[in-house]
């Protein structure tokens, strides 16, 4: 006889008490900290610390040879009496203003052209991007040759080929020509970024809007003014913010072409901060110049956001 005593089956598994480690890692607060820590660490070490150190140094008289002492606003007090500093402030604002207008005027125009149907569209778009892809220092050196007092290709064409001029053009020898030469170089370099970004914006505009407008008998200008432009404004605001920041903090073009000359007329705040801080060794004063860029950048960013991006985009809500 066999007695089969079936073992009592427990179909519900006993729940094991979780270990302390598991509990620890299941804790939501711990998880939040653990996941954010690397990001905070990276931001803290590579962003906040240098920025904080820079701001701190602006209030000291640190030089490359010696860690400085706290001098309060002394650096700023000196800078505010320094015509070279004010000249750099002026040129930074002027350079950013004129170059941004140039870049957006030409960039928008280029984007509208590229938005048309044409043969080899993608190839042309790729070529347009070239000035943006080339490292700035290389294009700066190219412009440096173009503007050279002795070996400029433009002077060569006008003097030796066409015979329209007797002497070489002095692009960089006096203040206003030098300033505009730099702005032209910056516009040339900045157009592709604007054009390609705006082109992306243009392509999100629904063709049906244009069809409706055509049926209503809208002219090309009216279609641009009442469809393209408003629909483009949000992306325009973002691109403009970036563009202003890039232009205002530009360094390479000016440093490679004029080093701030002639007689300081083309110093940007960035190049002046570098010249005083690193080759000149006056780290405190260099940091003060760099820190004084911050209000301008904050203002430019706020302006772009509040003045241009107020309209709701494709939400069907009112315009304001």
């Amino acid at each position: 006889m066999s007695v089969t005593t079936a073992p009592e089956l427990h179909w519900s598994k006993t729940r094991r008490e979780p270990g302390w480690l598991t509990k620890f890692f299941d804790n939501k607060a711990v998880l939040v900290v653990a996941c954010l820590l690397p990001a905070f660490g990276l931001l803290g070490v590579f962003l906040t610390y240098p920025l904080g150190l820079g701001i701190y140094m602006a209030f000291t008289d640190t030089t490359i040879g010696r860690s400085g002492v706290w001098v309060g606003l002394e650096n700023f007090e000196y800078l505010f009496t320094d015509p070279i500093f004010w000249n750099a402030v002026f040129f930074s604002v002027f350079y950013t203003g004129i170059a941004t207008i140039g870049k957006f005027g030409l960039g928008l125009w280029l984007a509208l052209l590229l938005n048309q149907h044409m043969p080899f569209k993608s190839l042309i778009r790729a070529i347009i991007l070239l000035p943006w892809i080339v490292p700035t220092v290389l294009s700066a050196i190219a412009f440096w040759w173009i503007y050279d007092p002795q070996f400029s290709i433009i002077s060569y064409v006008f003097v030796d080929v066409l015979g329209w001029r007797e002497t070489n053009i002095n692009f960089l020898g006096s203040e206003w020509p030098a300033r505009f030469s730099l702005i032209v170089a910056n516009v040339w370099r900045g157009i592709p970024f604007v054009a390609i970004s705006l082109l992306a914006g243009l392509q999100t505009i629904s063709p049906s809007l244009y069809e409706a407008a055509l049926l209503d008998g809208a002219t090309a200008w009216q279609r641009f003014r009442f469809i393209t432009f408003p629909m483009l404004l949000p992306i325009l605001a973002i691109v403009m913010t970036f563009s202003i920041i890039f232009t205002f903090t530009d360094f390479q073009l000016v440093y490679a072409i004029t080093r701030g000359g002639p007689v300081n007329s083309t110093h940007l705040l960035a190049t002046l901060a570098f010249q005083r801080g690193i080759p000149g060794g006056q780290l405190g004063e260099g940091a003060a110049i760099a820190v004084s860029m911050i209000p301008f950048l904050v203002f430019a960013t706020l302006f772009s956001y509040f003045a241009l991006a107020r309209r709701k985009w494709q939400q069907g809500e009112g315009n304001d």
Binding site: T63, I64, S67, N168, N170, N264, G281
Partner: protein, 440 residues
């Protein structure tokens, strides 16, 4: 500054170096007992120096260091860094108290970091006694201000004298550039009339621009800083210099206000510029390129005209070595520097540099470096100069800052371009100098 190195040149150098090693005995050395420097046991050294001008510089320097290791058993590691980085790396080394035992920096570096350095007086006095004495510029950059205590041992200097086309200067009616301002002006006016103009950098060119501006002021008896470190630029001499510059600038090739360090090299090499100031690199670049060799053959060097000064007003870029207090092997470090400056090592190194660097010690005037190419010979006097950056003040970080901020260049450029009167430009320079040379 540019330089081309050809294979032939390097081949020639190899031969020159062998000859040099044999010829090192031609350097007169007095019989002076070496300072007693008992080497620390287990000593090792780290040396940091700027990168080479020419490849053989690095090769011979490393070979010399290897000979020191062979002679003493002290391991030496030599690192080469870019010129524009050496000051920052020196600053970090000084402030952290860690890193190389020896740094060969530029010009004022030992004076900026003097609290972090050990004195090198015993080694310096030994070398000076043995090799005919230290040259003027070496003493200025080597010794602590107003004392005979050495904190740096200069290794050499690179100067920028006048570079001119013999044919053009002769055509203008001069045998060679005259030593006085009126004569220089007449020469350059004649060059301009003959459409073979002179030109000097007045843009933000660290080497050439500062070199020219300093010469204009110094040769008229002006100076940036007084002996006590207060600004002395706003003087009658400065105004006279700037007035003269206004006339002198009118003879220049157009565009010099925009010139960087390399612009005069290019213009000279393309037969557009016939008189300028530059380092020896321009001559070698011309000589080594068959296309421009005729220009090199027609090129002469002379020291910048003295004007009212006793010696040619030029402050060559000086290599200046220092030993840090944090070094655990100070005797080994001092012994290394002395070893490198002794004739069997220094003379081949000097020759390997072809004249890019000129010696700080008088005995090396007899080096074969200066007998090879007569056109290079005048560079041997580079360190026989009464002038230094920040003349006449104590050497300090202020002189480096004023140099990097182009105070002198822009004073000259603003007058030359007509933006400022000489008086206003001198006042502006005084304002800027007051900032850089303020007491801290």
């Amino acid at each position: 500054m540019t330089f081309n190195i050809t294979r032939r040149l390097i081949g020639g150098l190899g031969a020159g170096m062998i000859a040099g090693q044999a010829g090192a005995q031609t350097i007169a050395a007095a019989n002076v007992p070496a300072p007693r420097l008992p080497l620390e046991s287990g000593a090792t050294l780290r040396v940091l120096r700027p990168v080479r001008f020419v490849q053989p510089d690095e090769e011979v320097f490393r070979a010399n260091a290897a000979r020191f290791t062979a002679a003493t058993g002290v391991q030496v590691r030599v690192d080469f860094v870019a010129w524009e980085d050496i000051t920052q790396q020196t600053g970090v080394t000084a402030n952290t108290g860690a890193g190389p035992d020896i740094i060969i920096g530029f010009n004022e570096a030992p004076h900026v970091f003097q609290d972090k350095l050990i004195e090198l007086t015993d080694v310096a006095e030994y070398l000076g006694a043995k090799y005919g004495g230290w040259k003027q510029l070496a003493q200025k950059y080597g010794k602590r201000h107003n004392s005979n205590n050495w904190i740096g041992l200069p290794f050499g200097a690179s100067g920028g004298p006048l570079v001119w086309r013999k044919s053009a200067v002769n055509e203008a009616g001069f045998e060679r550039p005259p030593e006085d301002h009126a004569g220089m002006l007449r020469l350059c006016q004649a060059l301009r009339r003959n459409n073979k103009p002179a030109g000097f950098a007045l843009g933000n060119a660290v080497g050439d621009g500062n070199g020219f501006a300093n010469w204009v002021i110094w040769s008229h008896g002006g100076f940036l800083v007084n002996e006590d470190g207060t600004p002395g630029i706003n003087s009658r001499e400065t105004v006279a210099a700037l007035n003269w510059l206004r006339e002198f600038y009118a003879t220049f090739i157009p565009g010099t206000l925009a010139w960087g360090d390399i612009s005069n090299n290019r213009a000279y090499a393309s037969n557009e510029l016939f008189l300028t100031s530059n380092g020896v690199s321009l001559y070698f670049a011309l000589k080594n390129d068959p296309a421009t060799a005729p220009i090199a053959a027609d090129t002469e060097h002379t020291l910048l005209p003295r004007g009212l000064a006793r010696t040619s007003p030029m402050a060559g870029l000086t290599l200046n070595s220092m030993v840090f207090r944090h070094s655990r092997f100070p005797n080994a470090a001092k012994a290394f520097l002395a070893f490198m400056l002794e004739a069997p090592q220094y003379d081949p190194w000097l020759q390997a540099n072809l004249g890019y660097w000129a010696q700080p010690l008088n005995a090396y005037n007899a080096s074969a470096t200066w007998t090879g190419d007569p056109k290079v010979a005048i560079f041997k006097d580079t360190m026989d100069s009464d002038f230094w950056l920040g003349f006449k003040g104590p050497i300090s970080e202020g002189s480096a800052a004023a140099n990097a901020d182009y105070v002198m260049v822009q004073m000259c450029a603003s007058v030359a371009s007509g933006q400022a009167t000489p008086e206003a430009a001198a006042r502006e320079a005084e304002r800027r100098a007051a900032r850089f040379f303020r007491r801290r």
